[in-house]
Amino acid sequence: MIEQISIRNFKSLTKVDLKLGRLNLFIGTNASGKSNFLDALRVLQGIGYGFTFNEILDGKPKSAASEVWEPIRGGSARAGFGGAGGGENILFEVVGRSVAKEKPWDWGYRISFVASEGHLREEYLKAGDTTIYSSTEADYCRTHPYFTVRYYRGQKGQPPQVNFEKNRPVLGQMARGGNDKWTKSHAEFAERVADELVNMQRIDPSPLYLRAYSQAHTIQRIGERGENFAALINTICADEKAKSAYLSWLKELRPAEVDDVGTLTGAVGEPMFMLKEGGREYPAPVLSDGTLRFAAITAAFFQPDMPGILTIEEVENGIHASRLRLLVEMLRSRAAAGQTQIIATTHSPIVLAWLKKEEYATTFFCKRDEATGEAHIRPLTEIPHFMETVQKQPISDLFAEGWLETAL
């Protein structure tokens, strides 16, 4: 789980410092910086994979070790603030806490790089408050073929300097081991932090994929666009208790209509999503976009292999206004379960209307400064006069009428 994140000079995010919770919503007009924030998380995921900076920003074809990595929107040319690859350093700083293991453990990570060069400028890794390696701007040398960090092996005296490739993060290089240049436990710690960054899943289900037959029969995770949705349904339905819980959400979405959920089988056994209503089977192609999207987003919370962070863009898409209460309830209950941190964007005033006041601290308003192009992101609790005004005016009205834009 990411507890704090700072971003500098990445796309429109020139200066962003946020404390995140388990359920985080990003709101704002179009082009206000919401999607750029999600792109920033994808950069961190690419860092976790150990890709080069060029690969992270410009994409990477499928290899023996990894799937296709789609480029970040705009690629390296638009990654720095103001475009042109950015003359300034792009910086990410993250404070995280792993909750997947029995005993929670804290970590801190900071990285700075220049997109146009594809070179590292600064990086550190901390276990709690203990630094494992660090570097400063002063350590950087443009002409030097390597990137040098100070490695804190826990012994007295000056920490030794260790050289790494400069076109990819040190984190992944340390995780791969170092011929006794650093300890095995530090390599393992770096690997665990890299895994934390990798363990993000982005879903933006497309009805086109949701209506299709799945190639797999069962699966642990759904694809970003909803690939292998029906295979995930097969997996969920194989566990009677999971199926019952999953079905309960679909029944709430369409009361007095949905009796059962499952899959139909194609010519070679490939599955297709199906709902049963009044004894009749309705295959995915005849179901509405909204029903399918809700079914897919809900299914994502029943994946056997849950991600540490789940990002959902425009979470309300296709879902009827009267059912958004249900969506918020689902996001809230799944976030409270503690296994997965949820980060979603929304344009819906009704989604906001169903938030509890204590959730305003992790509901972030994004606004783009028209003069400079910089995006500002603030929790609602830090918008001037918001907390007083929302006592008297519905938050949905404040959002829909543009009050938040006037207040920040």
């Binding site: 019952s244 309960s248 709430e252 309830e329 689902m330 209950s333 379960a337």
Partner: protein, 189 residues
């Protein structure tokens, strides 16, 4: 002829999972199986005072056309519900109130008495039923992954012995009897 019911709970998020199937079952008993039962979600009331204020100030304009309103608050704060019914009657609204003793969650628990550590009399008088009795019960017997954390399935089980529910919760029996007196719901000869 269609029959429409509006349920006004203190908390639409969680109480709806208990109240909607309960009222659907009750109107079925009163021979209105096709009744359309809606739980109020807008305006979003939060607590007894907000619900009572909404009933008097906001709802008549929006929902006066519905056949029956049911206000189902927790009994701990409910006061002068008969007066509220009369006040709404003057506005042409058929409102019936039924306060749950001590809280709405007791109606779900009525079907699961054998799983509780307390005898039923103490459940019905408990000062913190929601937090001290219902929450641990739900954690143990519900499903955190399901809608309403499993309230629907548990309420379905309660409603399988509907007569037992009315016996355990006399306020529901009284409500059903009162509804039977309404011309639209009276037993047809």
């Amino acid at each position: 002829m269609s029959f429409s019911v509006l349920i006004i709970p203190e908390d639409p998020t969680h109480n709806g999972y208990i109240l909607k199937p309960l009222v659907e079952r009750m109107v079925r008993e009163l021979r209105k199986p096709q009744a359309r039962v809606t739980v109020l979600t807008n305006p979003k009331v939060n607590g007894y005072d907000a619900a009572r204020r909404a009933i008097v100030e906001d709802l008549p304009l929006r929902y006066k056309h519905l056949d029956l309103w049911l206000f189902m608050p927790d009994a701990d704060r409910a006061r002068n519900l008969a007066g509220l019914e009369k006040e709404l009657e003057a506005q042409g609204v058929c409102l019936r109130c039924c306060a749950a003793k001590p809280e709405v969650e007791a109606w779900l628990l009525a079907g699961h008495r054998e799983k509780l550590q307390l005898d039923w009399k103490h459940v019905r008088e408990h000062a913190s039923l929601k937090e001290k009795v219902f929450a641990p019960f739900l954690e143990k017997h519900g499903d955190a992954r399901a809608a309403g954390a499993g309230r629907s399935a548990l309420m379905d089980a309660t409603l399988r012995n509907y007569d037992g529910l009315l016996t355990a919760c006399d306020e529901l029996k009284e409500l059903q009897d009162r509804l039977r007196q309404l011309p639209a719901l009276g037993v047809q000869p």
